[in-house]
Structures are given as structure tokens and as C-alpha cells.
């Protein structure tokens, strides 16, 4: 042992003389916040990826967008854009940009100018124009941009002057401003891009990001730790904390142990089973809020017997949702009666859910010609999601409930990618899935998940195309008037309940256990984590 130590010491001496002195630690006065994140980010360019973890590590700390969601709400506020005007026909959006916004710098890059319209053009054209020099850099997959239908929606992005840009759209689109607040629309530096392109290493801009946001990336060790430092010249003022550290910790019970041990200050996605222990711990504040999500069971309405609305209604009545809330969510969820969560405007509270009633279910099944029941399957996702913390367990409960009304259901599970694809192709009888909102607009739930075109392309797992419903949501998309849209969506929700393409199961509550030293942390309804504005006591 002693010899080994000596050996190490010798190599140490050699290394030090070789001039590889280590960096000094940050001074004791610096305020550091440690966030135990749940997974490794895919990368640092939010437009290339779709995972919330990646957004937490990139767009939400490093970048800004033209407009943003006010921290902790779904309200849209000006950010890089001061103000904007929409033309009367709803197809031209003109943004007036804020002046004097500083870019961050790193070892490779020192900005020579402030943020301007060129950066906006760059950030959108990279994702939009396939001849753009950056279009194919880093794999060039812009799935959110694609998914929000941006390529066919945006006709052009024009620079009017350094601080004015105009978006010309191909059609009126009420949720457009909300879309621009999404992570994929983060603004990157075109000057940095030009320099890296000239240096022959364009992919660097996606790995060593430069943004206008409150934190700049200092160091990233895959699967272990991400370090950020506050951006001194941030346009809203420097963040109260100096250093932000993401300690990557995939297991939720391990995250809790670290939080208790003071090894981290904020943790996402606690185990529902641990919530009581967290409430009891005096050093932990358990914040909670309504989630912007819905977990559902979709009937494949193209397959018998689910073509019959009575069967769908009967099986809806047969499920004991309260038992699911108790056993699967451990109380960390609420029963869902609409496809959209109550936090979204236009939520129709007047809709009445099917009550749990096995007798009525049996009667209705008999009426539909299935007095002796039938055999079917329930697909259970292999992954944990905010809208469904344990699909296998949920499926076991549903299986037992349906067995009670004579329906035999086999539980089926595939690996996640396979699950998504096969359910998209409609190979299931019934499937458990869910959705977390992207932009707080009802269209983002009702059209994406239950619309007719979605039944074609597969996001509508019920494969349900019902004309009266479709007419309502299409009308709502074309109007900018919020009151009118609200009324249309409220009617749509009534129809979706009567027709029962889904059993709406639950909206989860979002819990964020934080150390009692942390102040002004606000739960992001989109499930993200924003650390600008958060402070910590030493």
C-alpha cells in the first residue's frame, strides 16, 4: 500500500512539473446550487432534441427566445423581443427586438457585437432551409420544429433592420406565438456559428453552447456532472446564485438520499412512495403544483368491439380510477375527466365523468352484445412518465377491474421505441399513454391527440376521427379570439367524453422537493427546471 501511494505521489510530482496545474476552486463566498438531474442531456442545442432533460440543461439556462413563458406559469411574456404586431389577416408577425443584449463567451469565442436580427434569422433558417450550411450539422434532426409543422407554416423570416424581424406565415395559426416560446425556438449566435464554420468545426456550437441566457456552460462530464456559471451581463440582471451544478442521478430514491444528505438542493421526479417522508423532513420543502399532463387509456376505435361506443363507455365505467390514484400515483395525481388538464384555459369543468359502476358496465356490455365479456389486451408502457409513474401496475389494476365485468385483458409490453411505433400503427386493442403539454394551448392536446389528421399519422392512438369534434377544433385554430376559442374547445370536450375514445385516467401533480435553504424556486408547469431567480442561503 505504501509503495503504491509513493508511486502515485511521484507521478503527481511529475505531472505538476509538467505544468498541468489544476484549476483553483471557486471562492468560498460564491453561492452554489446543486440540482440532481434525472438523466444525461442528449446535447446542448435544444432544437436538435426533444427530451425535457436536454431542455433543462440547455434552453432553460443558457438560451433565450423571442418570447418566453413567465417563470412558473404558462403566460407568454416578452423576452428577446420587446413587442410584436400581428397583421389583420393573421399571417405576418413583426417583432421589435430588445437592444443591448450581450452574448456569453467561452475559451473559443468572444462576441464582438450584441444580439441582433441576424441571430434570429440564423436560428430559424438553420432548421428550415435545407441548403443552409448548418442544416445538416450534428445530425440535423429538428423534430420539434417538424412536429409543430413549422416548415410548412413559415414562408420566410425577414430582417427589416438590426432590431426588427418579420415572420411571414402561409396561413393564420392562433398558437404561433406560444410556439415561439418553446425550447426549439431558442436563439443562437450567428457570429459564433460563422467563426466555427470558418474554423471547420461547425458542430462545436452545439457542444460548447453560447447563449444570451442567465447561465453559461463551464464543464460537462457525460453521465456525471454539468457545471454552469452565472452570466454577468444577463439582460435581466445577473442570477442570484453564482454557480449552478447538475449532478446527474438517474435513480429517484438515490436523488432523495442525496437531497437528505445535503449533496443536492433541488431534485426532480420524486418517487410517489417517498412523498410522506419528504413532507416529514424539516430540512426539505416539498413544493407541489398541478401538472400540465394527461395520462389516458386509448381504445383502438378502428377495431371491434371498440367501434361500439357502448363498449368504450362500459369499460370506462368499469375502471376504478380512485384505486389507480391510490396505488399508482400514491395520491400524487388527480382523476382526469377531460383530455386537457385543468391548468389549461378552456378546461370544461361542467363535463361529468363516468362514475365507477361495475353493474352499469355489465349491463351496458350486455346491451352491446357482450354479456359474456370478450378478450382483449392492455398495452403498458415500459417507461416511467410524469403522466404515468408505473404503467405496468396501472395495467394490473385495470386488468383486475375489467375481469370483474367479464372482460379478459392480457397485459402487453414492448421496449419503448417499439411500443411507440406499434401503437402509432394501431396494433393495440387498448393502450396506455399520455401527453405533457408543450405550449399551454388546448390545440396542443385536442388536435394533436384526437384530431383526424392525427388519426392518420398516429399520434391519435385511439385512431378516432369524429367529424363534429374535428369541425370544432379546426374552427378554433383559425380564430385569434380567445373567448370564441374557449367556447369551441369546451364543446369539443363534451363530445370527447360522450364518445369515450379514451378513458381519461389522471393528471399527475408535480412535486419538487427542495432544500429549505433554497428560496424562490417555482415549479414550471411544463415540467422543466428554470434556475434564474432562485436563491440559496449559505
Amino acid at each position: 500500500m505504501k509503495n503504491a501511494k509513493l508511486c502515485i505521489l511521484t507521478s503527481l510530482a511529475v505531472a505538476v512539473t509538467a505544468g498541468m496545474a489544476a484549476l483553483p476552486t471557486s471562492s468560498a463566498a460564491a453561492k452554489t446550487l446543486v440540482y440532481c438531474s434525472e438523466a444525461n442531456p442528449e446535447g446542448f442545442n435544444p432544437s436538435l432534441f426533444t427530451a425535457g432533460t436536454t431542455f433543462d440543461a440547455s434552453s432553460r439556462q443558457i438560451y433565450n427566445r423571442l418570447v418566453e413563458f413567465d417563470r412558473g406559469t404558462t403566460n407568454i411574456v416578452p423576452a428577446l423581443a420587446d413587442s410584436w404586431e400581428v397583421s389583420n389577416n393573421g399571417t405576418t408577425y413583426t417583432f421589435n427586438l430588445r437592444s443591448g443584449i450581450k452574448w456569453q463567451s467561452n475559451d473559443r469565442f468572444t462576441p464582438s457585437r450584441d444580439f441582433n436580427a441576424d441571430d434570429i434569422i440564423f436560428s430559424f433558417d438553420r432548421q428550415r432551409v435545407d441548403s443552409h450550411p448548418f442544416f445538416n450539422v450534428s445530425g440535423g434532426t429538428y423534430e420539434y420544429f417538424q412536429g409543430m409543422d413549422m416548415p410548412s407554416l413559415i414562408e420566410s423570416v425577414e430582417k427589416i433592420d438590426d432590431l426588427t424581424v418579420r415572420f411571414n406565415l402561409t396561413r393564420p395559426e392562433a398558437p404561433f406565438i406560444a410556439n415561439l416560446a418553446m425550447d426549439f425556438a431558442s436563439i443562437m449566435s450567428s457570429e459564433y456559428a460563422d467563426q466555427m464554420l470558418a474554423a471547420g468545426t461547425p458542430e462545436i456550437i452545439d457542444q460548447e453552447p453560447i447563449g444570451t441566457g442567465p447561465f453559461r456552460l463551464v464543464d460537462f462530464q457525460p453521465d456525471a456532472v454539468i457545471r454552469y456559471a452565472a452570466h454577468e451581463d444577463y439582460f435581466r440582471g445577473k442570477a442570484p446564485i453564482d454557480d449552478l451544478i447538475f449532478s446527474i442521478t438517474p435513480d429517484s430514491s438515490v436523488r432523495f438520499a442525496k437531497l437528505q444528505a445535503g449533496e443536492c438542493d433541488v431534485m426532480p421526479f420524486p418517487n410517489p412512495a417517498d412523498l410522506d417522508a419528504m413532507r416529514a423532513d424539516p430540512n426539505i420543502n416539498l413544493l407541489e403544483a398541478e401538472g400540465l399532463n394527461t395520462g389516458y387509456l386509448a381504445f383502438n376505435t378502428e377495431r371491434a368491439p371498440f367501434t361500439d361506443v357502448r363498449v368504450r363507455q362500459a369499460l370506462s365505467m368499469a375502471i376504478n380510477k380512485q384505486a389507480i390514484i391510490d396505488a399508482v400515483f400514491q395520491g400524487s395525481g388527480v382523476i382526469a375527466k377531460n383530455p386537457i388538464p385543468p391548468t389549461i384555459w378552456s378546461y370544461n369543468d361542467a363535463v361529468e365523468d363516468y362514475a365507477f359502476d361495475p353493474d352499469a358496465a355489465r349491463a351496458l356490455l350486455a346491451e352491446a352484445g357482450f354479456a359474456d365479456g370478450f378478450s382483449t389486451n392492455v398495452w403498458a408502457m415500459p417507461v416511467q412518465r410524469p403522466y404515468n409513474p408505473n404503467a405496468a401496475r396501472m395495467a394490473e389494476l385495470i386488468q383486475a377491474d375489467w375481469a370483474d365485468v367479464g372482460v379478459t385483458a392480457e397485459i402487453v409490453s414492448f421496449e419503448w421505441g417499439e411500443y411507440l411505433r406499434r401503437s402509432k400503427d394501431g396494433e393495440h386493442d387498448t393502450v396506455l399513454l399520455g401527453w405533457t403539454g408543450d405550449n399551454g394551448d388546448p390545440d396542443n392536446f385536442l388536435a394533436v391527440l384526437l384530431g383526424c389528421s392525427a388519426a392518420q399519422d398516429g399520434t391519435n392512438r385511439a385512431r378516432w376521427c369524429h367529424q363534429p369534434f374535428e369541425d370544432l377544433i379546426q374552427a378554433a385554430k383559425r380564430t385569434a379570439d380567445v373567448a370564441e376559442r374557449t367556447s369551441l374547445y369546451e364543446q369539443a370536450q363534451v363530445i370527447s367524453k360522450e364518445e369515450a375514445p379514451w378513458v381519461t385516467i389522471a393528471h399527475s401533480r408535480v412535486f419538487e422537493p427542495i432544500s429549505s435553504r433554497v428560496s424562490d424556486f417555482r415549479i414550471d408547469p411544463f415540467g422543466g427546471h428554470v434556475f434564474y431567480g432562485v436563491d440559496i442561503q449559505e
Binding site: 430514491s253 417517498d274 394490473e396
Partner: protein, 306 residues
């Protein structure tokens, strides 16, 4: 290693036989009996098999019955326990003890099926390699090398991913991963035997190839294979549990022990019994097979005893 053990065992065994001539089975039993651990292992296994066969009779509850008013009840000796559920209940109110009892069926079944599969194919291929030598040997052994360059768990994972997650597919994957061991051991034992006089004698007497392989050589090369099969049982149970833990084994609501552990992970702090008992069950079963395997090895290789 096994080759030399085996050769030595043969020599010693032959030497002893010449002098005393007791029945081989009796001789085996008398030396096996001396190893107390092995006897304990044997009896544990017999009890396990008994439990597995009579699970329907002895389990106090239906293993899939959900008592929704009794979620996560601790074992009866703890505060809040309920004598109805001796080992407590799981997150959806199923009786732990009944699930553990029924789980013994799956673990033993996985062991039995995967060992049988691996034994059948492994012995055949190993016999062919050791008997024919030449290109057959080369082909088989190079393939074995390739398979063995993969970490076993990774290979099993890939096979299950290809076949789709289920108990049966996990069993097949485990058998495939274990194959190289059986091939190598059989080949080594066969090569040790093939050079013996009795084989040459049999050959000159005009015995055909198949007869030579399966009737003349194989029975004499069986000892290390039997030991490997016993130990294979325990590694099969462990591998199945690992696959179940990674979500690729038995599917719900099957009360397989590894799968029970996987779903129990989130309760590690709140409900220790959900995690502890299935792990104990695995440990005890695997330990029993290893003890017995050890005893078998000693009994079949008297040289290691005094």
C-alpha cells in the same frame, strides 16, 4: 482445470473400484453425505420443489388477488401488520408470501428449462467438437470464443430484446448465454476420454461413430457435466432475476422473484419487505444449488477430500 480434476477423479475412482468394489451409487452417496453443506442444499432444494408443486395448496391467498384496502401492509410482526398477510402486501395489495411461494415455480422452471436446453445443445456440440476434432472442432470452438467475448448479461439482454420480453424468451436467452460453458466442459472431458484404451478397444471392435460418442464416451465424461448443470441451475436463476430486474424477464402480473424486485425498487425506503423477501428467496435457492453442486463435485472427485 476441470480436465485435470476429471482425469484424476477417474484414476482414483478406478483405483478404488478395483480394491473395494462397492456400488458406485452407494460410494457416491457416502462421500456426498459427509459434506453437510451439500446435504443442507439438497434438502432445501427438495423443500423448494415441494413448495413449487403444492403452491396452490399452501399459499394463503391467490398470488394475483388485489386487496385494495391493504396496500403495502408490513409483515405481521411489525407495527401495522396484519396476521392475514404474514409477510405483508405489495403496492397493489397482493399477499407477499403467496407471491413468493408461487414465484418458486418460475425460478425452478427457468432453471430446469434453461439447463435442459443448454445441456442438450452444449453436450451435443461439445461431443462433436471433442470427438471429431479438425474443422468441426475449429468451427465450434471459434464460435464459442466469439460468444464468450461478449459480456454475458449484455448478450442475454440482446437476445431478449430480439425475441421480446417474456419469461420463456428470458429462459432461452439464459440457455444461449450458458451454452459455451457446456460446450467447453464437454469437449475437454471427451478429449480426455477419447485417448483411453477402452475407447480404442471399442473402436477396433467396430462400434459405429454414434455408439462411440454417446454410449462409449459420454457416460464416462458425465461427471463434470453434471456438476456444471447443477451450478448452471443457480446461475440461470440469478440471470433470470437480473433480466427481470432490468424489466426484460417475466411480465406482470407473474410473481417471478426478479420482476418482483424490479417493481419494488421505488419502495426501498418506505417498505423494506417488498424488496427484502424476494431477494432472500433468490439467495436461498441459489445458495442451495451451489452447495449441492459443491458436494457433487467433491463426491465425484474424491481426490479433493481426505
Amino acid at each position: 482445470m476441470t480436465v485435470t480434476d476429471q482425469e484424476q477423479a477417474e484414476q482414483t475412482a478406478q483405483a478404488t473400484t478395483e480394491i473395494e468394489q462397492p456400488s458406485p451409487l452407494r460410494q457416491f452417496w457416502s462421500s456426498f453425505r459427509e459434506n453437510h453443506g451439500a446435504v443442507v442444499g439438497l434438502f432445501t432444494i427438495i423443500i423448494m420443489i415441494g413448495i413449487a408443486f403444492s403452491a396452490d395448496l399452501i399459499a394463503p391467498h391467490d398470488p394475483n388477488q388485489q386487496y385494495r384496502d391493504f396496500l403495502l401492509i408490513p409483515p405481521m410482526w411489525q407495527d401495522g401488520g396484519n396476521s392475514q398477510f404474514i409477510f405483508g402486501t405489495d403496492p397493489i395489495g397482493r399477499d407477499m408470501l403467496s407471491r413468493l411461494i408461487h414465484g418458486s415455480r418460475f425460478s425452478l422452471m427457468i432453471g430446469a428449462i434453461s439447463v435442459t436446453l443448454a445441456l442438450f445443445f452444449g453436450v451435443t456440440l461439445g461431443l462433436a467438437a471433442g470427438f471429431f476434432r479438425g474443422w468441426v472442432d475449429n468451427l465450434i470452438m471459434r464460435t464459442v470464443d466469439i460468444v464468450m467475448a461478449f459480456p454475458a448479461l449484455l448478450l442475454a439482454l440482446a437476445v431478449v430484446a430480439i425475441l421480446g420480453p417474456s419469461l420463456m424468451n428470458a429462459t432461452i436467452a439464459i440457455a444461449i448465454v450458458a451454452l459455451p460453458q457446456y460446450i467447453r466442459i464437454t469437449r475437454a472431458a471427451v478429449m480426455g476420454e477419447a485417448a483411453r484404451d477402452y475407447v480404442t478397444a471399442s473402436k477396433t471392435a467396430g462400434a459405429n461413430t454414434l455408439r462411440l460418442m454417446f454410449i462409449t464416451i459420454l457416460p464416462n465424461a458425465m461427471a463434470p457435466i453434471i456438476v456444471q448443470a447443477t451450478l448452471g441451475f443457480s446461475s440461470a436463476i440469478l440471470d433470470a432475476a437480473a433480466l427481470g430486474f432490468l424489466g426484460l424477464g417475466a411480465q406482470p402480473p407473474t410473481p417471478e422473484w426478479g420482476t418482483m424486485l424490479a417493481t419494488a425498487r421505488e419502495f426501498i425506503r418506505r417498505a423494506w419487505w417488498v424488496m427484502t423477501f424476494p431477494g432472500m428467496a433468490i439467495l436461498i435457492t441459489v445458495l442451495a444449488f451451489n452447495l449441492m453442486g459443491d458436494g457433487l463435485r467433491d463426491a465425484l472427485d474424491p481426490r479433493l477430500k481426505e
